[in-house]
Symmetry: C2
Subunit: 311 residues, 2 copies
């Protein structure tokens, strides 16, 4: 509507919200869905193609494909926005979004993570126009395992136990759900771009390799907490569903007991898990289709690695 150089000069003279309105510029917050570069919606793709800057949020989830495959279908460079970027470098992006179309891409859907509410609030505060393009996230795609979404209680996060920190608040949330007969979706820890302890000491920017929690590790941590707390919220025979790479070509869904889950081999990330509550017969039929077979497990004497490696 107005030439860019005019807008940039105007930005110095006028209030930012006025500039944003004049420019017609938009910040598109676009969910990419769960699979590959083609799980973006057609509306999402059309929006991204007209953006001058494209950022990919890459620390609350991971892409199932290399970012070059995104760039190929967008015809645009994709800048990876890691944790540091989202927490510190976001203002530059928001300023851009005052005078040009900018896309902020999120694997799954944007509003699964609190960070993105914060982004929207800051954007609106600056006067950016924001448009959200919805997509599937694990929070609804989990129904693909055959359990009904309206039978789920609150979702919980399970983080890696360390020698000194074994947070078990998920146990209380599961208990609340279980008392109502509801299923619990367990979202498993993702550690991407974590500074190494050594690097922190030296003030250097060095990062640990990416680490992802497996269903087997989650099940082991759950068993430990039940042993410690002893409130019989669940037990070795509790029915669980493990899902891996949901929505991707090699999506895997397996149903087994919690004890069996401690040795299940679900392959590469991302994994999620459901602790099953009371079931409708139709739900039983669905999850039984995915009953784990002997070859789905690691040998009984083999302890699964705590961390899944990157793709």
């Amino acid at each position: 509507m107005f030439p860019l150089h005019f807008l940039q000069r105007a930005a110095a003279a006028l209030s930012l919200p006025v500039v944003a309105r004049l420019s017609g510029a938009m910040l598109y917050v676009v969910g990419l869905g769960l699979g590959d570069e083609k799980d973006i919606t057609v509306n999402g793709l059309e929006a991204v193609k007209k953006c001058e800057r494209v950022y990919l949020e890459a620390y609350t989830s991971i892409l199932g494909v290399p970012k070059e495959r995104l760039e190929a279908i967008y015809g645009r460079e994709v800048v990876v926005a890691d944790r540091e970027f989202v927490e510190q470098g976001i203002d530059g992006m928001l300023n851009e979004a005052l005078t040009m179309d900018v896309a902020f891409l999120v694997v799954g859907d944007a509003f699964a993570a609190t960070t993105h509410s914060d982004l929207v609030l800051r954007a609106k505060g600056l006067g950016c126009k924001v448009k959200h393009i919805y997509n599937a996230s694990i929070m609804n795609a989990i129904a693909g395992c055959g359990l009904q979404l309206y039978r789920f209680g609150q979702a919980v996060s399970v983080v890696f136990f360390t020698e000194t920190w074994r947070p078990d608040s998920f146990y209380d949330r599961i208990k609340e759900n279980a008392q109502l007969g509801l299923h619990t979706l367990l979202l498993l820890d993702i550690r991407v771009k974590e500074p190494s302890v050594e690097a922190l000491c030296r003030g250097k920017k060095e990062y640990e390799p990416p680490r992802f929690m497996s269903c087997a590790t989650c099940a082991r941590q759950m068993m430990e907490v039940e042993e410690t707390r002893g409130e019989k919220v669940y037990g070795p025979d509790s029915m669980c569903v493990a899902v891996a790479r949901m929505g991707q070509e090699d999506e895997l869904i397996k149903t087994c007991t919690l004890k069996e889950m401690c040795n299940i081999d679900m392959g590469g990330p991302l994994h999620s898990m459901v602790l099953v509550g009371e079931t409708h017969p139709l739900e039983n039929d669905m999850i039984e289709m995915h009953r784990a077979a002997p070859h789905d497990f690691l040998p009984a004497d083999q302890v699964p690695s705590q961390y899944l490696s990157d793709l």
Copy 2:
């Protein structure tokens, strides 16, 4: 892989699962997302374009656009599969899916409704190969209002009260959520292709016009049930968020009290509502962005119609 006429003859001679494997045919169960014909994913669109038959499930939700707009981008005729079709005519579709690619389209995502689990089980029983293409549904897109998904308890359905039938089981579910401080998503009644009482008596196929519940009607029914049950699960001052046409161009989000909600004007269908639980400050900031203004309400003396008309 094999010519179709061979497969059709083979179907008579061989078991159906064998035919399905030979043909390489697939039943694609495709979520359309929440907005217009372009909220399908790129993968979904590519799958539909190669299908010989395309069915649109049209009774658990409604499209935001006429089906002709789907047909235009698919280059395919779209057959509307209404309640009658899904409950009675589904076998014909599944038999087709043994020898040719068939798409079954669902507004939002497929697994929000129990019907579609049933479809998948029947398809697998017949030997069909089934591929699910995920998309956004109201169950995750509700986070677009600014409330965090992991703070939601079980979702509930609210159906139209009649003179003789005023089902209030949603009250118990809300109570369970409220006691845990959780938000409740209320999915509001949709009545599409309901046979008219007159038609039922005469054995004719005549249907009532489509009817959709508004947030105002939901709020009025909730107030009535609280008055009857009196357990103070919520009250006139309870904070609510109304959403209308989520994911569509004219998406509308409004925050107000339950009492105010009884007179809110959210426009055409579909509506959904959230009864807000305990909130994080970031959630408060988000829902306050959508605080309803005086012009969002009908005049105090005007009783909103119980039914929203069709688009």
